[in-house]
Symmetry: C2
Subunit: 169 residues, 2 copies
């Protein structure tokens, strides 16, 4: 992770990126969604250096994405569980798995298929949808400043607009 923090940047993407924009963080979250919760388990599964794992778990706990609790049977052991905020990252992990399979897949087929427990059927591809259910690509969508305002969006548009007259075509 870069040393300079995004936490004061006035943009939802930047603030989210500050908290989960790290490759180790993403595989830790993947494992948490699979039911893994202990330091030693993450460590064994990921082959990650202890100081890196410790740093990422501390950051995730500080960001209220994971919380620590004593493991049920053993007073000394600690478990890391997903908070509601962390639990809501599920679509992100699903998306990464689907996009990873689509673009970085194996010729033999899917490594892991995420299925609906109740029907046993594969879940849909995570996508952006309009209110009426139409699937939206980036070209179908537009960013609008909300009531909170975004200097970040305003400056991006200013920078892009400055170039336009010379670069159109």
């Amino acid at each position: 992770m870069s040393r300079s923090s995004f936490s004061q940047i006035d943009c939802g993407v930047a603030q989210a990126a500050e908290q989960i924009g790290d490759k180790w963080t993403l595989v830790i979250l993947r494992n948490a969604f699979q039911g893994m919760s202990r330091f030693d388990e993450f460590s064994e599964h990921l082959g990650i250096a202890a100081n890196v794992l410790s740093d990422r778990l501390n950051r995730l706990a500080a960001a209220d994405i994971l919380y620590r609790r004593p493991a049920s049977q053993d007073g000394r052991a600690v478990e890391y569980k997903l908070t509601p905020k962390g639990f809501e990252l599920f679509p992100l992990v699903v998306f990464l798995n689907q996009w990873g399979e689509r673009w970085l897949g194996k010729p033999e087929g899917l490594r892991v298929e995420l299925c609906d427990k109740s029907s046993g059927r594969p879940i849909r591809a995570v996508a952006a949808f309009a209110e009426d259910g139409r699937k939206l690509t980036a070209q179908d969508a537009v960013s609008r400043p909300g009531s909170g305002g975004s200097e970040v969006l305003r400056r991006a548009r200013e920078i892009i607009a400055r170039r336009r007259p010379a670069a159109i075509g």
Copy 2:
């Protein structure tokens, strides 16, 4: 970014994380979706060190998420545009914005609202859905090994199962 590569890890999430699991990469992608394409524009907007920006753009081009092309009017200038693989990351950026607003928002309201161009209405929250359209949380879903097989999933289950007898409750 960590030095050890995830590119040989037999897991879609890990492979995706290797290519986009970095906070600078995520804000660069955000800007690319907003129409930004030139080194100097990213540099000015992000206040990022030139060597870091250069590294991230090179990685994104090597991963076939962005491609380089000559800027239309100026033979020397280069543009970085989203490839089809990069363009498909749109739901990820939308999700990060929505999750960032939901959990790291401003009291005044949304900074940026992503809207459907054709209706002008806000787009839906990016989520995981069952085939029949039900919204799925992590608890409603299950990972199944696909035809490509996943040693990573098998080992995760083995590690978790080993703990279960002692930790249940």
